[in-house]
């Protein structure tokens, strides 16, 4: 269900996260700066090829992931394409209000660009999310001088997410098997009980966590060990060249 199932077991898992981060960052810049749908399409093709061909993410899983933002994309693009009161191609009138709806040509051009940019950026995001575990991304953020407190909170939260997902799933199954979600009203009541219980568990867990840390000599900040990655100048240069190439391409095409 979560993307990081793949992050822990792909061919590029043990590459230095700095290399993957650099490429993702540059690809995101390229996707956003793209002047034409074609340039953004190149970013998309490139990052998708690396994710599937390089890191070895299954094609079907990747395609299913691409459907995730479809709802937003559809609604967002629809808003760009239609215009009220004036446009190029009349579509009809809105019921109830009687407003004429038009398809606008400028809107279509803009929508195509936004669609391509979004897909390009999404492919860059997926590249990072599917090849690099969260712990390594947090390590990368530390090297980028993100405040230590924020990183500590992230580490704490990341670990507990899986604990709570498990608890929530079990509670939901227990409720559903007693017809807790049979009617709308019961559904709300069940979900509220689940949410409140989950909060209670979270609260108790945080207190236990604190106590157990104090027992181990915790004073002010959390420390944890990070894996050492081989530093490869060649890979870093490759990532910079590919990412830089995409940015240049985006500005020219």
């Amino acid at each position: 269900m979560l993307l990081d199932v793949y992050a822990y077991g792909n061919r590029w898992r043990y590459l230095n996260p700095a290399e993957k981060g650099l490429l993702t960052g540059l690809a995101l810049v390229a996707a956003l700066m793209a002047r034409s749908p074609l340039a953004a399409g190149v970013v998309f093709a490139c990052m998708t090829a690396l994710t599937i061909g390089g890191a070895g993410i299954p094609l079907l899983a990747y395609l299913r992931l691409l459907l995730f933002p479809a709802g937003f994309l559809l609604a967002g693009v629809a808003s760009l394409v239609v215009s009220f009161g004036g446009g190029d191609i009349p579509l009809g009138t809105l019921p109830w209000v009687g407003l004429p709806v038009f398809l606008s040509k400028a809107g279509l051009v803009q929508a195509a660009l936004v669609l391509a940019r979004s897909l390009g950026a999404v492919s860059a995001l997926y590249f990072l999310a599917l090849t690099t575990p969260m712990t390594e991304i947090i390590g990368l953020l530390r090297r980028l001088r993100v405040p230590a407190l924020l990183l500590e909170l992230m580490v704490l939260a990341y670990r507990q997410i899986f604990v709570f997902l498990q608890i929530a799933r079990e509670m939901r199954t227990a409720q559903a098997s007693r017809l807790g979600y049979g009617t709308l009203g019961n559904g709300f009541r069940s979900l509220a009980a689940l949410g409140a219980n989950l909060y209670l568990r979270a609260h108790q867990r945080s207190m236990l966590l604190h106590r157990s840390l104090v027992c181990r000599g915790y004073e002010d900040d959390l420390r944890w060990q990070e894996r050492d990655y081989p530093r490869s100048t060649r890979n870093l240069l490759l990532a910079a060249a590919l990412g830089g190439g995409l940015v240049v391409l985006a500005l020219l095409m």
Binding site: V122, L128, L156, A157, I161
Partner: protein, 226 residues
């Protein structure tokens, strides 16, 4: 409502990031100060970020047939205060982008602004105002959570309209289009979330007054020491 990865142009992505940054920094400073007085609070906030993430991954019972998820904005603002919400939202939104492909890295700033700043501020202000004029707690909470969701959705529509003004009608027409299309999912969501927040809070008040007392929301019951 999350704006997806790559949907905003560069200048807007950077601009909203710059707008959100001071709030996140301010929130972190407030958390740091509170943690110095009360060291357990760090764990509580970290674990609560995980709670918010999991809550937002649950499916709401559907009224209209569309699938929607609670945002936890109202509940979070009432439980932890609006200041702590900006850094928490930053963490939750980053996790949602990287683990659920929901939202994005380039739109993180814009999403923090709508969900971690505007929403919680509205919720908290309404919650305090409701307590001040002594509205029933259920009604206060419902209004706070519902209007926080609506404020978030309007902020998102505003962000989209600013980025993509209509070629004929300009900003206002574009705002009407985005707000109109997303209203189909967002207005039922706001009402559902309002209801859910009241129900969750009722259960909490009934069974965990002590935990709420830790957060300074409820007077502790007689004989129960936090």
């Amino acid at each position: 409502m999350h704006i997806m990865e790559g949907f905003l142009p560069v200048e807007h992505a950077l601009g909203w990031g710059a707008a959100s940054l001071p709030f996140v920094a301010l929130g972190l400073r407030a958390i740091k100060r509170k943690v110095r007085e009360n060291p357990e609070l760090k764990m509580l906030i970290g674990v609560s970020a995980a709670f918010t993430f999991v809550l937002s991954a649950l499916k709401l019972p559907s009224v209209t047939g569309s699938c929607s998820h609670p945002t936890g904005t109202g509940l979070g603002a009432v439980l932890f205060g609006p200041l702590a919400m900006a850094p928490m939202a930053a963490i939750v939104l980053l996790f949602q982008a990287l683990l659920l492909a929901h939202g994005g890295l380039t739109t993180l700033g814009a999403n923090i602004f709508s969900m971690g700043i505007v929403g919680p501020l509205v919720a908290y202000a309404l919650f305090r105002a409701g307590r001040l004029v002594k509205l029933p707690q259920g009604l206060t909470l419902f209004l706070a959570a519902t209007l926080a969701d609506l404020a978030t959705y309007l902020t998102t529509s505003l962000q989209l309209a600013l980025a993509f003004p209509d070629p004929i009608g300009g900003f206002a027409a574009s705002l009407a289009k985005f707000a109109g299309i997303f209203a189909i999912t967002q207005i039922p969501l706001a009402v559902s979330e309002g209801l859910l927040t009241v129900l969750i809070f009722n259960v909490l008040v009934k069974h965990s007054a002590r935990e709420l007392h830790d957060l300074g929301l409820q007077p502790a019951r007689e004989g129960v020491r936090p």
